[in-house]
């Protein structure tokens, strides 16, 4: 560990903030994020331009939503339901001390990934990262970044309805869950048995995996992927199948 290595080099005043980033963030303190990270996650985070609509209209970070700092508390109802949504705040220079109160407030609503864009809009411009002019969104919109192999709810529903011959639905819920109803044409293999029953699955069809919440379907996706030779995607969403009724999707 780093502190022990520094000791060996002769440093005499070594401290360790052992609780680290999670504790720092839980206390509502500011964490800075790099423009490179924001650019890479573009479209899958909540980017708040706290300079207000007038400044934002002149130019803003692509995809940002303009909110007034003083109105922030009133905007609470339009924040995403997903408390793990990355929320990035910025102003012209993003002086973190000016943004501390905003970070504390949003964190106190339960959001665990509130961060401040280091260098602010000026730093963003200096690196020639993508910006927009004119109309700016004033309502928050958030979609989480899809996991590798994820299929959209719309496409899943389409497959369930139309039974394309090049796709096969694989239901990896356990036998008890499946006894309440199974999708038409679906093959059922409980997830814990999947690895041992791979030879029951075709390699010339795309296998669309579902469970009840997406958790086991994703594991199934990794099992097929690690086995090699299978084409597969999975539904990362909650569904319920009761008798003849399918309820989907919640995302």
């Amino acid at each position: 560990m780093a502190a022990r290595k520094a000791e060996k080099l002769g440093y005499t005043n070594i401290k360790v903030y052992h609780e680290g980033v999670p504790a720092w963030s839980e206390s509502g303190n500011v964490l800075l994020t790099d423009g490179a990270f924001v650019e890479q996650m573009m479209g899958f985070l909540v980017l708040l331009d706290l300079r207000g609509t007038e400044s934002a209209k002149k130019a803003h970070v692509q995809g940002a939503v303009a909110l007034e700092m003083k109105n922030l508390e009133k905007e609470k109802p339009q924040f995403p339901l997903d408390k793990k949504a990355p929320i990035i705040l910025y102003t012209d220079k993003s002086d973190w001390k000016e943004l501390q109160a905003a970070v504390k407030m949003i964190s106190s609503w339960g959001y665990s990934r509130v961060r401040v864009l280091e260098g602010g809009f000026e730093g963003w411009l200096a690196k020639n990262r993508p910006t927009q002019k004119g109309d700016v969104r004033t309502t928050i919109f958030y979609i989480p970044r899809p996991h590798p192999g994820e299929i959209s709810g719309d496409e899943f529903m389409n497959i369930v309805k139309n039974h394309p011959t090049d796709k096969l639905i694989l239901d990896v819920r356990n036998t008890e869950e499946a006894s309440e109803g199974v999708l038409e044409g679906a093959v059922t293999i409980p997830l814990d048995a999947l690895q041992g029953r791979l030879n029951e699955l075709p390699k010339d069809k795309e296998i669309i995996i579902h469970c009840r919440t997406g958790l086991r379907a994703e594991m199934g996706y990794h099992i097929l992927r690690n086995a090699g030779g299978y084409k597969a995607r999975f539904l990362n969403d909650k569904i319920a199948i009761k008798g003849k009724d399918l309820f989907c999707c919640y995302k």
Binding site: G153, H222, A227, K244
Partner: protein
Amino acid sequence: MKKTRFYLSIGLGLAAAVLLGVSGPALAAENGKALWGPNCLSCHNYDPSTQLIMGDFQSYSRQANLLTVKIGPKPQVIKVTDQTKLENATSYRDLTGDNALKIAFEEKPDGFHARTVTVKPKLKVPENQLVSTKEMEKLVALGPEKGKFTLLDSRPAYRFQEERIPGAVNQPLPNFDKLTNLLPADKGQMVIFYCQGFT
């Protein structure tokens, strides 16, 4: 939030799947190094004489008794049974993505079976070296210059890029020896290290 309600009639007989391509489960044991995550390999040397999976916790399913371990871009799914020993944690459900796992396993026809799942324990730090969040808040508000300290983030670069404490400099632990220039010239000056917590 979009909610689509949809009715479906479910036939009694399941359509028989076309059973093609009978291939055994191609397990990854022939390349044991592929079962060690890149973060683990930055500190541990790969040892081919052991059968270990090393990586970060990703997910656990109670219904299926399966554990997903993140190993670079290829997560592995491992069975945990009543015989599996869990060390340094009371339940798989308490684990998060910040937990690094070391798993001793057996390879069976139906997949990897974990013998022991060891959660990376908290490192011990001498009491007099510990800094609390309250003390950190004061120091960070002063800044490294006024506060006369160097704040070093030992996590990998991608983590640092995603989030860091104001005033921190990134010195990923595996590169410590190459990055000693980030330490102050004055060996008596305060140096503070932090990471993702307790590691």
